[in-house]
């Protein structure tokens, strides 16, 4: 159900190591819980971020949420397409709906995050 080539956080972000840069977005589960995304706020390029820092935010009709950086790194690129088309977060959470890319990442930090099976179990456990 969840892609195997990415790692997951308890705050429902995903991160994909693309060799040198890591791409970050929110999971399909998070997107469906939020409902239709209406607005996205993106970080500044070049900014150093700590693991767990609130670096972006996402708003839907129902709620506004922060997006946390899954690991330490530096913002290398942001997905400007989301500013005009926030619906990409719902339509294509793992591909066109990415939020930002990090460089200067210690990829060893990714090992502490959940894989697809663990994340699926985590979601199931917290569903009511």
């Amino acid at each position: 159900m969840y892609p195997n080539d990415i790692k997951y956080t308890k705050d429902h972000e995903w991160i994909r190591d693309e060799g040198g840069v890591c791409v970050v977005g929110i999971t399909a589960h998070a997107a469906s819980q939020l409902g239709d995304v209406t607005y996205v706020e993106l970080p500044e390029i070049g900014q150093d971020v700590k693991k767990g820092a609130a670096v972006a935010s996402v708003e839907s009709v129902k709620a506004a949420s922060d997006i946390y950086s899954p690991v330490r790194g530096r913002i290398a690129e942001v997905n400007d397409d989301l500013l005009g088309k926030p619906e990409l977060v719902n339509q294509s959470p793992y591909d066109q709906g990415w939020f930002f890319k990090l460089d200067d990442v210690d990829t060893a930090d990714l090992r502490h995050l959940m894989d697809a099976a663990k994340y699926e179990a985590f979601v199931a456990e917290h569903a009511e």
Binding site: G35, T38, Y39, V61, S65, E87, E128
Partner: protein, 477 residues
């Protein structure tokens, strides 16, 4: 119904001006528009009918039961309106307060400000109050600026404010505008603040913690004294968000619980209708530590005479004159009218009514928490959502039954949240009728009635496209 822009016909006018009989004064080119403003063109009666008809489609406390959780949409007695309409108050010129020469001409108004601030200080257990802030969030901003001034005067840099995950969104917004970083504190599974997580987040960079009590889950914080003691060990201040003051008014006082600073919502708790951005009044109250920094000028009493002074270390003005003075007039009338006993009954009936609704609905809807609710009860429609009926559908179905919808999808900590706040002003009959409607909807949801997904059917408009409205905001009426 057409928008006013759609009704517009070129050349129609409500007012026509006489021909210019003085030389025309040219305006600088830089101040002139490149093209005419697109204003609707209609006759006076068409404008009056348009807005009168719009107003008749409105849901208001004076027309419907309005159990919008967290908003305290209670009935505002017309007595307070009558007092505010007194010409001696309504026609007072605000500039009378601007020079000592005029003060003798506005002693009554200054007395009213002074006494309203004293009454609110008594209700909040605060040392002083300023009625200057003009909204709840503005009161929060005043409070966070006072907190910043306090730590600055002590010569230390405190850059963090702690805020529970159940808080109203205005709390982190106010803290951020006052220059603070916000750290979110999780709720415990029972819906109260996770005191352990709070203590773990506490250190000498924390300027304050902002709490709503009862919190937005409708629960009184049982650990409040422990929270206050732990905070004060670090000289971290406690901010009380007065959003839910209706639940405890006359029963306990934020100052006695350990809070150092608070705001009141006079438009909400004290007899001014609110919602939709109408004029508000969010007085800020302080304990002794923050008193030197209060907004100025302040009304002081010397013998029988009232005058104005600005504290030396004041954070400055929060608004022109005394903010929305007329809202304070209504609050003064309301407080004096109800007196001690009446104000105590406000909280008693607000809590009783919420618990009555909880008792009647708890088998059909799942309470979000197991503790006893205060002035509002929070349910989760997650079981209904599994069957295909969301909190949104339930809310829309209530409109067809003559009720304003409860708050839904807030607090964010509760899935498919339905938050009901009946307030003290509703009769048992109204509460019963509302509960009957909720139970009827629950039975429909149980059968997964398809109609619920398309409600409402009796309103001027059906299901609105909220996503389109949020993405392509275009304000016109």
């Amino acid at each position: 119904m057409q928008l006013i822009y759609e009704k517009s016909r070129e050349g129609c006018r409500a007012i026509t001006f006489d021909a210019l009989d003085v030389p025309e004064a040219p305006l600088p080119a830089g101040l002139l528009r490149a093209e005419a403003a697109r204003l609707p063109e209609l006759g006076e009666i068409e404008v009056v009918r348009h807005f009168t008809n719009l107003s008749r489609r409105n849901f208001g406390v004076d027309s419907h039961f309005y159990p919008l959780g967290s908003c305290t949409m209670k009935y505002n007695p017309k007595m307070a309106e009558a007092v505010a309409a007194e010409p001696g108050l309504a026609r007072l010129h605000p500039h009378l307060s601007s020079s000592p020469a005029y003060w003798p001409a506005c002693q009554g108004a200054l007395q009213l400000v002074y006494e309203t601030e004293r009454l609110l200080a008594e209700i909040g257990g605060m040392k002083q109050v300023s009625i200057q802030p003009i909204a709840g969030a503005h009161g929060e901003l005043a409070g966070t600026l006072l907190i910043a001034a306090y730590h600055r005067a002590k010569g230390r840099h405190r850059d963090t404010i702690l805020i529970p995950d159940s808080a109203h969104g205005t709390n982190p917004a106010s803290a951020a505008i006052a220059g603070f970083k916000v750290v979110q504190i999780p709720s415990a599974p029972d819906g109260t603040l996770d005191v352990g997580a709070f203590k773990a987040a506490l250190n000498d960079s924390v300027a304050a913690i902002m709490l709503t009590c009862p919190n937005t889950h409708g629960l009184f914080e049982p650990g409040i004294r422990e929270i206050a003691a732990a905070a004060h060990e670090h000289d971290t201040l406690l901010y009380y968000d007065g959003a839910n003051l209706n639940a405890i008014i006359g029963q306990c006082r934020p100052g006695d619980l350990g809070f150092d600073v608070m705001h009141f919502n006079l438009h909400k708790t004290f007899a001014t209708p609110h919602g939709m951005g109408g004029p508000g009044c969010g007085p800020v109250g302080v304990g002794p530590r923050l008193e030197p920094f209060l907004p100025g000028p302040r009304v002081v009493k010397d013998g029988d005479a009232y005058s104005l002074v600005t504290p030396e270390q004041s954070i400055g003005k929060m608004s022109c004159f005394f903010g929305n003075f007329m809202i304070a007039v209504r609050a003064y009338a309301y407080i004096r009218h109800l007196g001690d006993k009446g104000l105590k009954e406000v909280a008693q009936y607000a809590v009783l009514n919420a618990n009555y609704i909880h008792a009647r609905l708890k088998d059909a809807y799942t309470p979000a928490f197991g503790l006893r609710f205060m002035h509002e009860c929070v349910f989760t429609a997650a079981p209904q959502a599994k069957k295909g009926v969301k909190a949104l559908d339930i809310a829309k179905a209530l409109l067809d039954r003559g009720y304003h919808a409860p708050t839904i999808y807030f607090p964010l900590t509760v899935k498919e949240s339905i938050m009901i706040e009946p307030t003290e002003t509703e009769s048992k009959q109204t509460l019963d009728d509302f509960c009957d409607a909720m139970l009827e909807i629950a039975a429909l949801a149980d059968r997964n009635d398809n109609d619920l997904a398309h409600a409402p059917f009796t309103m001027p408009v059906g299901r609105l496209d909220e996503v389109k409205a949020a993405r392509e905001l275009n304000c016109a009426c």
